[in-house]
Symmetry: C2
Subunit: 255 residues, 2 copies
DNA sequence: CCTGTCCCTTTGTCCGACAAAGTTAGGGGC
DNA sequence: GCCCCTAACTTTGTCGGACAAAGGGACAGG
């Protein structure tokens, strides 16, 4: 028979962790608002009564977590965690877990269809203007796989943004980041890939403008199926996401 | 006319960042596999030729990113980033961006429906056994809102796991973490909430077992609509996610 | 075989220091 | 009076060394 729990586990955390937690609490509680200065390391040394090295370790934790950052003059301030930075970490996790392209494809089918549905319903004129601008730029670089892949990635970010649903925006991001490098490979390897991609985007913008949900869903499906067919010409869907994509994500994160 | 690019931009990053990047590269390249030891801080001091304080700052970065961790004896080793830890970061970001429950609801509707579709198609006997076990435990605590909310969260994690799609599993996690605390509030505030929740789970397991996609989707929708109706009895869907949920996520992260 | 002890390693923390880069204040030129 | 330039001052990034506490391992004794 197990003993009755007489003692709670005591909280034994290193000082740098406690520093990080204390600052994090103030930020998530809203007492420190995004943009507010945190103070210099020396200030924190005085406030917490620990050594500067300890403070600095705590700062690294918060920095990596995206809760604080340093401005141009390297002063600390609280900030709103950027989705893309966090998403790139998730992408990295997906790579390390060796997810397959089939999983990626299936999940993206769901997420992108949901995005377009939201966009069709709620896109603003400004959203549509951004998408139209993106389309124009895509048409200009239809012969340049790398640039076109970048435009494609941006297009789908803009569609998600137009859905006005930030949860969805965030949920699709990790998968989208893994998608992006393959798009370049596909457009390079499949001659008709570029024009088909741009045509799909044109239909999608049209669907959003006309608030035509059916058309939006249809063209999103086609767009993704095109990607899949292109992909199958150069690799197998059941292959795991290679480390090469990691490099992409890393480079993007540092930009 | 711009000059021909004679020089590459030089990489000016703090040493601790370079240390972190170097180790990260080795891990994502697979030269260091999950579980492999990284070596002691002193080893790294020797290898990188920088001060231990610098090494330690780099280690904090990697630790926070989930790429390395310390075992029971505090020795460093590479590890597979845990979805839930990263997802809690995203949840926190969503809170700080003040997303509304409407966004949460809409995104979850998409993600949970996709999960059940995958589960209906591909759940293994083991998945079903886990779900059945969860159901039994839920029935035992139907009168305890906190315990029931925890079971509910686990149930949906198990459904996502049964979908055999890790991308989906990860995509739904941030939203699900924000869902969880509200479930407790709803079950507390709405008398018939608990039994309805358990009944829905029973139907979902049944649908998975019979490979009945329609039923699975139907009951997932009902389940979420129940949540929504319950939620509207205690708050407005357009309210932003409050900081209170943050505390939940924080506590969960530290567990 | 279990246990207590000693020793070595490793981590967490601290102190003090210095160069480089950014900031601020004051002085000189117009 | 206003603007530019330079000289302090501040802050960050890094370094060297130091020490207590906790873990792990070897080893003797029950």
């Amino acid at each position: 028979m197990p003993l009755a729990p007489l003692f709670r586990p005591i909280d034994v955390a290193p000082a740098y962790q406690k520093v990080a937690d204390a600052i994090e609490r103030e930020i998530v509680n809203g007492r420190i608002k995004p943009g507010d200065p945190i103070g210099t390391e020396h200030d924190l040394v005085r406030q917490f009564g620990v050594n500067r090295s300890t403070i600095r370790e705590g700062i690294r934790v918060l920095e990596e977590g995206g809760l604080i950052s340093r401005d141009s003059s390297r002063r600390l301030h609280a900030c709103l965690p950027r989705y893309t930075k966090l998403a790139s970490r998730l992408s990295r996790a997906l790579v390390l877990h060796e997810v397959t392209f089939r999983e990626l494809y299936e999940a993206s089918m769901t997420l992108e269809v949901a995005s377009i549905e939201g966009a069709v319903e709620r896109a603003t004129d400004e959203n549509i203007a951004e998408l139209t601008d993106n389309l124009a730029r895509s048409e200009a670089v239809v012969g340049d796989p790398a640039a076109l892949a970048e435009c494609d990635a941006e297009f789908h970010v803009l569609v998600a943004k137009a859905s006005q649903n930030r949860v969805l925006q965030l949920a699709r991001e990790p998968a989208a980041q893994l998608f992006y490098p393959t798009t370049e490979m596909i457009v390079t390897g499949v001659a008709e890939g570029g024009p088909r991609l741009v045509a799909a985007h044109r239909h999608l913008i049209d669907a959003i403008r006309r608030r035509d949900r059916e058309a939006g869903v249809l063209w999103t499906r086609r767009h993704l199926q095109d990607w899949r067919r292109g992909f199958e010409k150069i690799a197998s869907l059941d292959r795991s996401v290679e480390h090469m994509y990691m490099e992409h994500a890393q480079a993007a994160r540092r930009r």
